[in-house]
């Protein structure tokens, strides 16, 4: 039986799902653009003597992507632990966790 009367369970509507997917796509695109900018700055020398990527540059780009992702994960873990600490230690009473 439903405790919430007419509210029932909050099922995400298809409009909400689309909005979430759009937001995620935007995040991924933004991340890709930032990655491109950083890795190009770090891996491609600016004298452009040739149009081809040479071996060193290619390897540098590959590693750059890997490291960018790793840093991304590290920071995400760090932020999560910070948030958990703030919730555990910040208030004396326990407040219902957000997200978690």
């Amino acid at each position: 039986m439903s405790f919430l009367g007419f509210g029932s369970r909050p099922q995400p509507t298809s409009a909400q799902k689309i909005a979430a997917a759009e937001q995620e796509l935007e995040m991924v695109t933004d991340m890709f653009n930032r990655l491109t900018e950083s890795c190009r700055k770090k891996c491609l020398p600016t004298d452009y003597r040739e149009g081809e990527l040479n071996k060193g540059e290619s390897v540098c780009l590959d590693r750059c992507v890997g490291k960018f992702f790793e840093v991304n994960m590290k920071i995400s873990e760090f932020m999560q632990s910070q948030q958990q600490n703030a919730m555990a230690g910040g208030g004396s009473g326990r407040i219902g966790g957000f997200g978690a």
């Binding site: 991924v28 695109t29 890709f32 653009n33 990655l35 491109t36 900018e37 890795c39 190009r40 891996c43 491609l44 600016t46 004298d47 452009y48 003597r49 040739e50 149009g51 081809e52 990527l53 540059e57 290619s58 780009l61 590959d62 750059c64 992507v65 890997g66 992702f69 994960m73 995400s76 873990e77 999560q80």
Partner: protein, 70 residues
Amino acid sequence: MKDFMTMYSNLVQNCFNDCINDFTSKAVSAKENSCVTNCATKFMKASERLGMRFQEANAAMMQGGGAPGK
């Protein structure tokens, strides 16, 4: 379309900044010209490669050790 325009203006700005530093003449010199061509070619190749690696890494992250705390 918006992404394409962003990429285009980025490309112009980056290659201009990296290749054009001498304003003693009004015309784009042959050296500057080849620098710009190489810059644009290399930029596209790098984007392509980065895109491929990005997709791989993203897919690996999604199904593999993605976000332990969910």
